[in-house]
């Protein structure tokens, strides 16, 4: 599904990603962990096509297609979804209107008609139930005045609506209370299939108890310095990152 080869990226001449290699196959769950500022969100943004970041070297390949020349929205149309660490507010645009626009723009890109209102409503009902979102919530302005947890839940609601091929969840767990974490994780699990893949970026093992990863990667200073199975996350939880830094420096 996703193949990243020797990816180098920078912003304002500051190099952030310094040779990332990663392969994610359909049906897999990958976790990316790493200290603050190591480049996790940057990697997510670069995959999603944020123009601010300059790719200096390497490729990102999605289902055999090099993404280099694709704009962010085109990547989204190909099935890339990013649940933002810090979702932005769009005053005056309701959650419903926003997701409706997103879905119909994606359909338009594929040469399809707008989704009939009836189907849209049904889909919204279904997915909001899945994530236990109050319908009233959907008429509020996107992320405006949302609590931290509400923002994250809303991100996953959008993911559920858009049914992406590759979902990257950037610290979706932070800000969620214990019940919400379970609900959101369950939602993600229900959406998982053998045809899609999930990359979760997190600092905590807790999320990985629910969304169980096939692989865990450690990102340090813009490189993946260690990869392993789900037990690696436990080890990190216990020991922190120092031992890995030592390994790398050795």
């Amino acid at each position: 599904m996703l193949q990243i080869n020797d990816l180098h990226a920078s912003v304002d001449d500051k190099s952030i990603l310094r040779g990332i290699n990663l392969e994610v196959k359909a049906g897999e769950v990958h976790a990316i962990m790493g200290p603050n500022g190591s480049g996790k969100s940057t990697l997510a943004s670069v995959i999603a096509g944020k123009e601010e970041y300059e790719v200096e070297k390497g490729q990102i390949v999605l289902n055999g297609e090099d993404l280099e020349d694709l704009a962010a929205e085109e990547r989204a149309h190909k099935g890339i979804f990013l649940s933002f660490q810090y979702p932005v507010e769009i005053p005056g645009v309701s959650v419903t209107n926003f997701i409706k626009t997103a879905i119909n723009e994606t359909r338009k890109a594929k040469g399809l008609e707008d989704m009939p209102a009836k189907d849209m409503l049904k889909l919204i009902r279904e997915k909001s139930e899945l994530l236990e979102i109050d319908r009233k919530f959907l008429s509020r302005s996107l992320n405006e005045g949302f609590s931290g947890g509400e923002k994250k839940r809303n991100e996953i609601f959008q993911m559920a609506m858009l049914e992406p091929k590759l979902a990257i969840l950037d610290e979706t767990d932070s800000g969620l209370d214990i019940d919400a974490l379970r609900i959101v994780a369950n939602g993600v699990n229900k959406l998982k299939s053998k045809d899609n893949a999930v990359v979760v970026i997190t600092h905590y093992q807790r999320l990985l108890d629910y969304i169980v990863p096939d692989f865990v990667h450690v990102l340090l200073d813009g490189r993946i310095v260690k990869s392993g199975g789900k037990e690696l996350a436990h080890e990190l939880e216990e020991k922190g990152y120092d031992w890995i830094k030592e390994e790398v420096n050795a």
Binding site: E52, A72, E73, A76, F81, V88, E89, I90, V93, I99
Partner: protein
Amino acid sequence: MSKYTEDDLREELKTKEYEYGFYTDIESETFPIGLNEDIVRAISKKKEEPEWMTAWRLEAFRVWESMEEPDWANVNYTKPDFQAIAYYSAPKSIDPNKTLDDVDPDLLAMYKKLGISVDEQKKMNNIAMDIVVDSVSVATTFKKTLAEKGIIFMPISEAIQEHPELVKKYIGTVVPTKDNFYAALNSAVFSDGSFCYIPKGVKCPMELSTYFRINQAGTGQFERTLVIADEGSYVSYLEGCTAPSRDENQLHAAVVELIALDDAEIKYSTVQNWFPGNAEGKGGVYNFVTKRGLCEKNAKISWTQVETGSAVTWKYPSCVLKGDNSVGEFYSIAVTNNYQQADTGTKMIHLGKNTKSTIISKGISAGKSQNSYRGLVQVSSRAENARNFSQCDSLLMGNECGAHTFPYIEANNKSAMIEHEATTSKIGEDQIFYCNQRGIDTEKAIALIVNGFSKDVLNKLPMEFAVEAQKLLEISLEGSVG
């Protein structure tokens, strides 16, 4: 004010009319350029107006001659040469007995292209239309339904003939001829416009709608609209404008007068999309409009406007809250792009007791444009318990445009409660990326953000109009992101 009497007029006619042999010369549908008393008379004659109307125009012309074009607004432009404009033009081959079905198919096709399907609107939206093309009405519909309720909705030129008592009683009472430079000019040379009268206690069953456009190069456009809502009546009036591309600046100076008698309500909505000039700032319409409404006791007037067009806009729909407990509202979205300049806002004049006004202004600036809000809230000494709430929000796109807010408050009564809030925000790259990531391209993302920003005002528009306005916002901001 010294009245210009009929004797004066007769005297004028004696000396001037034959001197130039002007009247007989007028064969073409467009008058020669320039403005003098003869032209004013010729316009009046062309429209077969009664003498009082001619006299009224001539008086306005004299006032205008003694006035100077104002320059206090925050706009820069080459002042129009008022002697280089033709003051009257009519589309060719007009038959006043025509119905909508008889309208020139080319013209209808043009409306369609602009997204204004008259037929569709007529059928689906229950809208009576009084279409003004280059100042002369070519089609009027739904007249019968309206007539049954005693509602008068017709070109003002016809109203002058058919209901002179109403026109004479109210014209110039809200916007006097000497009110300002452009109002005086309009009073002298107005070519046509709409007239509407809602009788006592009648709720107008449909949205009254007028579409204006300017389609003849070099022709100034001077509409005159007069809406009178008699006691306890209600009317919602829609005005929409579109204009094709044009290479030279065109002057537009309309006057709209609204009169809401006791317990009456008038909603006046405008979607305005005149050619704003090309990306380099060339061409475009100059729009200098005087719009004002008078509220008697317990009356209410709401102005809602979506302004996306014109090279230069100068426009302040206002309410004179004369009657006790009267209410004035102003909801506005003004979009400027490229080199457009807009100086718009409102005046709320509180004269009566317990009068209330609300101002919601949303300014959107892109490109190298300048967008100014100018608002005056005035509370007279006898206006006990007057209240005003004003909110002015500006949205900026890019670093080269400007947004300015000039709120003026004159409170002469201690019981007045006046609140003013203002915000300025910028469309952020993060917002755009967020939308992009969800599959929404940048153009659409901006439209979405702008629509969200404007929502409080869009919500005030009648449904069909709101949809049209949304489209307009999108179109006018196209290509505004690099």
